[in-house]
């Protein structure tokens, strides 16, 4: 059980900051995912934590101890690679026993630890095989066993599932979570898959341009994102530019879309006339008799529901869901849409415009 603390961490390559001034605390036994578009610095961050890289500025603490200068071989951080990196010339057993071997813990420890952790990931029956004889998912399980057999209480998972098939990915992610929770291990899991992040983590750290854009529990980030970027990156949403047209003393707010249609939103602190953006997720948009007028552009069956894409009178694209067994409109039909006002989140309008704000690279 280890508590990790990062203080003003920066990782600079020449003029380029892979990570810039990050402060973060991770509680002992917490499962944290670092989420973000590619190139946002998420892998750099765990490389700094595990000691593979030494940060150009800032300090790393484990349980209050400054480990910034401790080399990776003494840091006791398990690291699992995206490309798995099992040693190809060693059997699974030798792979898992590698850490006790290089720490000279003796034959007995090598035997018992490798057996224990291979058992834990259900791979003991194949202990004598070589990595190339296994499927990708099985290889990654062994790689996790190898990292855990070092006795480490921290695990860095560097996009461990992204090289695997969709189905295997799903199964393995729950298995990893079950495993580390059972062992009480602190985990940092890097991924660019927001669904993966939502489903396994205690807390999501959303990164962008080398800095932390937002952090919080999956549900909080999903329901009350604090930036347009987070609202768009995590889950799906409709974004519309508008202006605050009315706000009561209690905070009840109305905004005016382009074209003049007025919409009620959740409570805010904005003033009348402020340029804002509203975010409303498709599941909070409903067809009704009256409301925002929109023309149906396309209808796609998503497996369990229909996704209807419309062009609203405000010139915004608005998407909403229809349950699979209900009737859907046809392309070209005019529909009227209303929003669940509690689920309409309001943000100050970003200066560079919405497109710039939600750009991934």
């Amino acid at each position: 059980m280890v508590r990790i603390k990062l203080e003003h961490i920066s990782m600079r390559f020449g003029d380029f900051y892979a990570v810039r001034d990050i402060n973060l605390e991770i509680n002992s036994g917490e499962y944290v995912t670092i989420l973000g578009p590619s190139g946002c610095g998420k892998t750099s961050l765990i490389k700094v934590i595990s000691g593979i890289w030494t940060p150009t500025e800032g300090k790393v603490y484990f349980d209050g101890l400054d480990v910034t200068k401790v080399p990776m071989e003494d840091r006791d951080v398990g690291y699992v690679f995206q490309n798995i990196a099992l040693f190809p010339h060693m059997t699974l057993k030798e792979n898992v026993a590698y850490s006790p071997r290089v720490k000279d813990q003796g034959e007995e420890a090598m035997e018992s630890l490798s057996t224990e952790y291979l058992q834990l990931v259900n791979m003991l029956a194949r202990a004598g095989m070589y990595p190339r004889e296994l499927s990708g998912g099985e290889q990654q399980k062994v790689a996790i066993a190898r990292a855990l057999a070092s006795g480490s209480k921290m695990l860095m998972l560097d996009e461990p599932l992204s090289a695997l098939d969709a189905r295997v990915r799903m199964e393995l992610r729950y298995e990893i979570r079950r495993l580390v929770k059972k062992l009480g291990i602190t985990v940092l899991h890097v991924t660019h898959d927001q669904e993966e992040a939502m489903s396994v983590s205690d807390r999501i750290v959303l990164m962008r341009y080398g800095t932390i854009a937002e952090a919080g529990s999956p549900l909080d980030i999903y329901r009350k994102p604090s930036s347009v970027f987070a609202a768009n990156f995590i889950g799906e949403t409709n974004l519309m530019e508008c202006t605050v047209s009315d706000r009561s003393k209690s905070g009840k707010t109305k905004v005016k879309l382009r074209g003049g249609r007025e919409i009620r939103t959740s409570k805010t602190n904005f003033s009348v006339g402020d340029p804002v953006v509203i975010s409303v997720r498709p599941e909070h948009v409903y067809p009704a008799i009256d409301g925002l007028e929109a023309e149906v552009q396309s209808i796609v069956f998503m497996g369990t529901y229909w996704r209807v894409r419309t062009l609203a009178e405000s010139r915004d694209y608005v998407e909403y869901n229809v349950p699979a067994d209900e009737e859907v409109p046809e392309v070209g039909d005019t529909v009227h849409l209303v929003f669940n006002k509690k689920a309409v989140v309001v943000f100050a309008r970003p200066q560079g415009g919405i497109e710039e704000e939600i750009r991934l690279e």
């Binding site: 080399p71 071989e73 690291y79 590698y98 290089v102 000279d104 070092s150």
Partner: protein, 548 residues
């Protein structure tokens, strides 16, 4: 245009394609492989000549000691190359620093120097031989040591290159993974990376060993400058020595000695290659036992820096300084030069090298294509091994064998130039084909398949899709083959006494004690080489920039 179109249409015909491949195979077998090892049959047809040698204790001992010198020197040189090549490969592949590109270029420079030139330069640097006005270190070295120092220079780049090529393919994450599991860097390298090196070690070993075994010009010149060319021999230098005097090489006994030495070297070299391949395929670098404390000690503090320092120092002191020492002659007054002869020999050298490389490419491409795409087929594997044969055989033996083979067809001395070109094709062919195979294997076959689904004829798919992708490998292979041909002495002397390429001309100058003239010729040759290589780099560099 219409010609290209006709080729396109022809290439659609299966028979034409197989015909072309069969033709390339036939040329390869009949012009390259068979003549290279033909001398082995002389062991039976001319047994009485060989018998003369075996009955003459004096000559027999000389021959045997020459062969022993060759093999033991090649072995020692290769081992040293591995020991200093490994850390250098690490520096080249895993480290980033300012001036890395310079180091990269410097590493290859000795390859652009004809070995005859290196011979002069290296002896000048280490000892102060008679007749040389430029002061050297003045060490008194045995001929054996001297030849080792010389051979390290032109084998070292091969070793570093082959080790780097393998290291580049080994995922650095393996080492990192090992270290996050608690291994020190030394332990991680020893237990993970080194055991994954086997294939690269085998290639590097065979390349360096063969190169050292075959080298003639530089060795002979170095021995001549030390004044021991008539008492200390390596296999190739012995043949060179015989060729220096017509009364020697035409005598029956010496003919027998040449056959014996050639056959012994060819057979030993081939057996050795086979054994090394088998041995290294079976050999496992042990990774079971670890010494964490020792590993930790050598991974920390100043030791890694010291190791890198020694590696760089070795490169500078043993490889670069002795190679470039010949430029000291630029400080001397210009000697009276026979420019006519020099220019003729340069023209011959460039002509031979140019023709050889063009033929290599023409018959090498279909061969490389076949081998790369049929790696697992039986014929593919056989050809793959056969291609290496001319590379393994000492070029002096190869040249001697070639002259016996074609001499049997009645090609007398008026065909010497043609035979020399044949000889140069033989030992440069593997360099071009190896490079091509490597490059083609990297290209996904679906690239060509896609081109053909879009309507390209097979030749169009090759010329418009595959060739532009492997272009740089073709150029790299050609440069390697060209410089190798330019610097070759052994094959040329043993084929003919009349074809005066530059290295031969330089050798003659050295034999006559005209060191200054020899040095000047060398400098001119090196300058031409660099202008050529630089020109090619500029042209190809511009192209790659445009592509990017």
């Amino acid at each position: 245009m219409s010609l290209l179109k006709r080729i396109d249409d022809l290439s659609d015909n299966r028979k034409v394609r197989s015909g072309w491949f069969v033709f390339a195979c036939l040329v390869f077998i009949l012009v390259i492989v068979v003549p290279s090892i033909f001398v082995v049959t002389n062991l039976f047809t001319d047994w009485e000549l060989v018998d003369l040698v075996l009955n003459n204790e004096g000559i027999k001992d000389t021959v045997l000691s020459a062969v022993f010198n060759s093999f033991s020197i090649a072995f020692i040189v290769t081992i040293i190359d591995i020991l200093v090549g490994l850390p250098m490969a690490w520096i080249m592949v895993r480290k980033n620093f300012h001036g890395k590109r310079w180091l990269d270029t410097l590493l290859d420079m000795p390859l652009a120097f004809p070995t005859a030139v290196l011979g002069i330069s290296v002896v000048m640097f280490w000892i102060s031989p008679d007749g040389i006005s430029i002061p050297g270190l003045g060490l008194s070295l045995s001929p054996y040591m001297m030849v080792i120092l010389l051979h390290i220079i032109f084998t070292y780049p091969y070793m570093v290159r082959s080790l780097s090529a393998i290291l580049e393919q080994i995922d650095p994450n393996f080492e990192t993974a090992g270290m996050t599991l608690g291994a020190s860097r030394w332990t991680a390298v020893r237990t993970i990376t080194l055991p994954l090196f086997r294939a690269g070690l085998a290639t590097g070993f065979v390349l360096c060993f063969a190169r050292s075994l075959s080298e003639t010009g530089g060795t002979y010149i170095a021995l001549t400058m030390m004044g021991v060319q008539t008492s200390f021999f390596t296999g190739p230098s012995f043949i060179s020595f015989l060729k220096s005097d017509e009364s020697l090489y035409t005598s029956d006994e010496m003919m027998g000695a040449q056959i014996l030495i050639s056959v012994v070297m060819i057979v030993l070299a081939l057996v050795l290659m086979f054994v090394v391949r088998k041995f290294i395929a079976k050999f496992r670098i042990p990774y079971q036992k670890v010494w964490p404390q020792i590993g930790r000690k050598v991974s920390q503090g100043g030791l890694p820096k010291l190791k890198d320092g020694i590696t760089i120092a070795f490169l500078i002191v043993i490889v670069l300084l002795p190679s470039f020492y010949i430029f000291m002659y630029l400080t001397e007054p210009m000697p009276q030069m026979d420019y006519g002869t020099l220019l003729t020999s340069i023209a011959i050298s460039f002509g031979v090298a140019g023709v050889a490389v063009l033929v290599d490419i023409a018959i090498g491409v279909p061969m490389a294509l076949y081998i790369a795409r049929h790696k697992n087929g039986k014929l593919g594997q056989i050809l793959d091994n056969l291609v290496n044969v001319p590379l393994i055989i000492p070029t002096t033996a190869l040249g001697f064998s070639l002259s016996l083979f074609w001499g049997g067809f009645g090609l007398d001395s008026s065909f010497d130039l043609l035979l020399v070109i044949f000889g140069h094709i033989s030992f440069t062919y593997p360099l071009v084909v190896r490079n091509l195979i490597g490059a083609i294997e990297e290209v996904d076959p679906s690239c060509e398949e896609i081109a053909m689904t879009l309507g390209a004829k097979p030749f169009q798919a090759f010329s418009k899709v595959l060739f532009p992708i492997i272009n740089s490998a073709v150029i790299a292979g050609s440069i390697l083959a060209f410089t190798r041909s330019l610097g070759e002495t052994g094959a040329t002397t043993s084929i003919s006494q009349n074809v005066n390429t530059v290295p031969i001309y330089i050798t003659h100058l050295v034999e006559d004690g005209l060191y200054t003239e020899a040095a000047m010729c060398s400098i001119v040759l090196i300058a031409l080489c660099f202008i050529l290589m630089f020109g090619i780099r500029v042209v190809t560099g511009r192209r790659s920039k445009r592509d990017a």
